[in-house]
Symmetry: C2
Subunit: 424 residues, 2 copies
Amino acid sequence: MASQVNPPRGMRDFLPADKANRERVLGTIRSVYTQHGFDEIETPVMEESSRLHAGLGGDNEKLAFGVLKRALTVDDLQAASTPLDLADLGLRFDLTVPLARFYASHQAELPTVFRAIQIAPVWRAERPQKGRYRQFVQCDIDIIGEKGAIAEIELITATTATLAALGIDGCSIRINDRRLLSSMLAAFGFPAGEHASVLITVDKLDKLGNDGVINELRDRAYPAAPIAALEAFFNRPQTMEFLPFGEAAIRKALPEGVDETAVLELASLATSVDEATRASLVFDPFLVRGMGYYTGTIFEVAHPSLGYSLGGGGRYDGMIGRFLGGDVPAVGFSLGFERIVDLVSPAAVGGLDATALLYEDDVPAALLVSLKSELIASGVRVRLERKPRNIKPLLAQLAESGFARVATVRADSTVSTLEFRELG
Amino acid sequence: MASQVNPPRGMRDFLPADKANRERVLGTIRSVYTQHGFDEIETPVMEESSRLHAGLGGDNEKLAFGVLKRALTVDDLQAASTPLDLADLGLRFDLTVPLARFYASHQAELPTVFRAIQIAPVWRAERPQKGRYRQFVQCDIDIIGEKGAIAEIELITATTATLAALGIDGCSIRINDRRLLSSMLAAFGFPAGEHASVLITVDKLDKLGNDGVINELRDRAYPAAPIAALEAFFNRPQTMEFLPFGEAAIRKALPEGVDETAVLELASLATSVDEATRASLVFDPFLVRGMGYYTGTIFEVAHPSLGYSLGGGGRYDGMIGRFLGGDVPAVGFSLGFERIVDLVSPAAVGGLDATALLYEDDVPAALLVSLKSELIASGVRVRLERKPRNIKPLLAQLAESGFARVATVRADSTVSTLEFRELG
């Protein structure tokens, strides 16, 4: 019986040790971001269905959980021509659509340059598979209202500081600019109208390799000449000369004729980050990032031991203003909390200052609670445990849960004795 | 335009100052409960619809938000005979149903006596009104697997310690026992089958007064004799003699013939709490608590300045085992976080250690970020602010956001000067 009772498909319960570890990691992330001048906000888990399906979420919109309208009648069900007709709300699939809505609701109450922290769950009805969940936590920081590269630099600096505070070493940040991608495709001869679609294939470069990308583009029947130009670029002779990330390195990695402004801005960004922090920036001319709303810089955190990114983001100047009816500059960096927490080694719940009070059945409740209160007042975490016949399994479990000491309570009329012993 | 963009009806955004205050209060609650030996767990926000509608949630079941099945076709919509046919999941309306499901899923991994903390949002599609929200946070502690009154005592002690740590003074805890209520109704002559229904009216005693309750019972056409007995009891001559909460006081407040075990257990509980803590316990023979699942002790926290309770709970021995197919003893105490947070005075975000760096447009980004990093390394919270032409509104806003100092950054080739000035 019991084994059949589970949380909903693709969603997880967190037992005490996991929950404590998650809260500890969240606390570190929150505290570093706050120190870096960001302010945490919170929005409801639901948004109006029409906002979630306004085209800002890309493929994720299809994965949104819809919330049924209240007080629907059978007639309403009969009259619906699509399930969306029955859902006025939905669970957010990311934190960016809610941020755009939040900003539209509260712009007048926020600073001109607003640095937001959002640490919260999102929901996607994905096919459950290892490491993919239908409820998971994202940690987003966004800077709204700043056009200059100082915004990108602050985001990258705060993110690398957070990873360092969590003891996650050796990460590098791959960086590119949507304008470079676009002008590169133009230089190869792809018409502007096809860029978004070609980028879907280019985005698979890590998985397919150069030849795979060329083959898929051929299969998808793009014109031959631009594909040949891309292939020639892939196969160009390269010297092994090492160039630090800067203007020369960017030019060397790209074909002739790419967006000059974007080259200079990215070079200047690289120099500033390099001077200001020890973040390891890597230029990746084929980094795409899936979301269609990016307009400038894009970036991703790569960890040396993992085949996937820990997070990413970019500049999306067109989107925050969407619900306001105007453009508002914005850059964001999102960390995938579930991936981060797996990399951080867990700490014992409650630490060293936890004591379990083992009591016999005949000890009066009032006495137990007094003893417990006294120990708590001295700063100790206390758990009461009725003494079982066989004490060994209990002691092992207590040690595992971070209890450093047990005290046996015996009561002889009004006199109580406490015998302490160390665990672990 | 902007003024029309709002969060969904009955739900709220939290701006930085509110969010910081909420997190601070949650941190205190979490830390006191942990010290008292409770362990935090987390469950997904959604549960299977069939579990949410299994009769454990009373009237709240009707308020559950349903989540649409994925990949529904128009045929599915046509074939549905009720909206619930289209919802396989729903958002939890309390934390007790999820706890029962969690316990059934994980019993083997949990201690014999399991003390759970749950601090999490719940959702109810209530008619929005002042002070009522459709998404709100509950703070629940529950002890599962302990039959003895020590469980009630630990819950009451931990809850009063939490209120004290938050600086919420003067609360008292009203307490009663479902068995006393039931045996009192029996003593008046109400048949057992009508008790649950009669209690719905008795529960309105605070609002209706003695006469109102009697009138409503008459309107609802209960037999005249038990109503007359209740009325006579309401109007019995009472001496003003003060009795401390104990056996004598309980007997005095009840008619003859009530449940003897319950009287003695409640008296012993009162004595223990009184000896162990400074919690102010008050016996309220007409305290009902709405939920049908309570089987023993019930309690509510009352604040002197408020017309409503800050939280409550009780023993519900039949419920946790529901999904396991057996009885498991359980007691819980839930605090209404939204009411608590309104009573706690807010603290400044970031406190005294926050500095804003005001910069002119010509200061290089790399320099700014270096200065910021240096200050952060010294333990300060830092925010960059582009210097506006009129600096006064910005300084006021910074002071309000808890920034204690501003430093103006000027750059003259590679030399930078920082001029600090105190705010506030």
